[in-house]
């Protein structure tokens, strides 16, 4: 059963991450200049072997499909793993298949911005912790070493960044890949990570409303709180389903429309999940001390860094109108596996 593989991988990876990179360490890596800690923690995580999940088995990887790896991405999201794990998984698989060297350390997938001279990229989650980059430009992914200086991340100043090279960097590897395929992969894999982080937010809210007492009873006993937690749970469940559907294609690259559906659902859910979780937590929720902020920060960052909901909806809408499906149900059925 493919679903149980996902479950098992998710659970195994989640357990390992809880030991190797607990939230205190996430915070230390993301908030201080702890390069050694960041590097040693990555080596520990990498040693588990999951980072090579998508690399074909005959090239030294686990040869998993994106459908199977979806559980890993969700677990990383739920653990608030600081590194660009999904990007590194894809980069290693692509580079291995193309017979190229794999650089050490995390690899971030960055989108090149147009402009003269050097190379500038868009805000890229996890870029501050990446040793190298696969830069997406004109149907090609270019492997380059991390720049000396970058624009700090908007949401996670240290862990993320908009990488830039004043001179054109040396290209140390190259993979041809259509921009659409990269976009679809990012949308699907990103939604899985967001679903994981949202699940963690839900669990934190459930724990908080159970422990915190106001007016003589636990917050969770108030109907107003119960209703909000329920809405939050719905958003999380639908994002998880959307991510699973998008990743379920079986191959490495998901269907572009389903991936856009997942990205759209996740993006729509982010403001609802974050605002409800913070409203439920009250003032303590926006303190640095509480882990909730680790999650809502990256959820906002991931939403801002990828394809917009509006563009996702446009992509799906064009596919629908270009299809010869007579009804919305026929179109949706044509997308869905099985």
């Amino acid at each position: 059963m493919p679903q149980s593989i996902q479950h098992d991988l998710h659970d195994e990876f989640a357990r390992a991450l809880a030991g190797l990179c607990p939230l205190e360490r996430v915070r230390a890596i993301e908030s201080s200049d702890a390069e050694d800690l960041a590097a040693s923690t990555w080596r520990d995580v990498d040693a588990l072997g999951y980072v090579d999940a998508l690399t074909p088995a005959d090239l030294g990887g686990a040869g998993l499909s994106l459908a199977d790896a979806e559980g890993l991405l969700r677990a990383a999201g739920a653990a608030a793993l600081p590194y660009p794990l999904a990007d590194t998984m894809l980069a290693r698989a692509l580079l291995r298949i193309a017979g190229q060297e794999i650089p050490a350390g995390p690899i971030a997938l960055a989108e090149a911005l147009p402009g003269p001279g050097g190379l500038r990229c868009a805000q890229t989650p996890g870029a501050g912790l990446a040793g190298s980059f696969l830069v997406q430009r004109d149907g090609c992914l270019l492997l380059v070493a991390a720049p000396d200086a970058s624009v700090p991340g908007l949401f996670r100043q240290r862990a993320s960044a908009a990488p830039g090279w004043t001179e054109s960097p040396r290209i140390i590897g190259r993979v041809a890949l259509a921009d659409d395929a990269v976009q679809a992969w990012r949308n699907a894999a990103g939604a899985a990570g967001m679903a994981g982080a949202m699940q963690a937010v839900l669990e934190r809210c459930l724990a908080f409303v159970g422990e915190r007492h106001q007016f003589g009873r636990a917050l969770g006993r108030f109907q107003a709180i119960q209703q909000e937690v329920s809405v939050l749970a719905e958003q999380v469940a639908s994002t998880a389903m959307a991510a699973r559907l998008a990743c379920a294609g079986g191959a490495m690259f998901p269907d572009a429309s389903l991936a856009a559906c997942a990205r759209l659902r996740a993006g729509e859910a982010v403001p609802v999940v974050c605002s409800l979780a913070h409203a439920i937590h009250g003032a303590i929720g926006i303190t640095e001390e509480l882990a909730l902020g680790l999650y809502t920060t990256r959820l906002h960052e991931w939403r801002a860094a990828g394809m917009s909901e509006s563009d996702c909806a446009g992509l799906i809408g064009r596919q629908l109108l270009d299809s010869n499906c007579e009804t919305a149900l026929d179109f949706v059925r044509s997308l869905m596996p099985g």
């Binding site: 459930l206 409303v209 969770g220 209703q227 937690v229 329920s230 959307a242 919305a328 949706v332 997308l335």
Partner: protein, 367 residues
Amino acid sequence: MRPSVRAFLREALKDMPADRRARSWMGYDAEFSRALARQGWLGLTLPAAYGGAGRSNFARFVLSEELLAAGAPVSAHWIADRQTAPLILRYGSQAQRDFYLPRIIRGEAFFAIGMSEPDTGSDLASVRTRATPDAQGWLLNGRKIWTTNAHRSHYMCALVRTSGTPEDRHRGLSQMIFDLSLPGIEIRPIRDISGDAHFCEVLFDNVRLPADALVGEEGSGWQQVTAELALERSGPERIYSSMVLIDGWLQHLRRSADPDPEHVRLAGRLAGRLAVLRGMSLAVTQRLDQGDDASLAAVLVKDLGTEFEQAVPEWIGQALNRGTRPPPGETLARTLAYLTLINPTFSLRGGTRHILRGIIARELGLR
């Protein structure tokens, strides 16, 4: 089975305009229900021993999906097929199964569900309608309200108090099935804001019920109703109530050579939501088919689904108000008007949004 259902519906619905089909599972047509029965499509999952097709929950999902998306008028048999037949199969006596199930499957026994009451609404544990046991059976007194199709159904399955008082809450409740033509039953249809009359108030004045009107065990009504309402939430009904409007609007949109990008995005948003909800609904079906507990998954998809169904008329209404060229045809405008008026019911029927969210909170351990 999808192609045969589709071919049947194309023929059966060819003269029914979209604004009629927009009634979906509120649309009543006894002859249509019997025609479905002749195709073997009522009681699809029921055992062959009773005349059922013994098919899987997935087959039922496909059939329901096609009926609902096309806006077929399924209301006459819908409740019996979805809730009452499985209830009788699970809790009924052999005699009750032998009597009711074949009739339901043949489209000869339509059911109304007596749950809400004027004074109790969603608080089913407080029902006051009472069946008092006596030497000949039961004496029924009280009233039910918001009972869909009571005026055009053969039987009612009602939650009533058989012992104790309303203060006893869940204890002392039982389910009774009885003929709606019995003396002492008065049925008053209630007109809705769109001009239809699909629900009723039903009054019971010393109605004499036979002893075998009781389904399941005396005092187990609460557990039985809870199981029944889980069935109510498990189907794809809660996604597709506005499908006729979506498809009518898409047809309209396709007539434009150069559609407004805002409208293209709306089409994408609708399809994107639909895909996710359908995935969730299929996951519920899968759980049911494996015999797993689907209660949380079913409530989540019902609340999200009704939110979607209710958003559709608003979104499409906005799109059509943006001075679209060509202007919408009358049928599309009527479909939109009908759904704009009636969509509040989507999150009322079978348990309101607030009740559902309370159930989710309970499933999450908050109460």
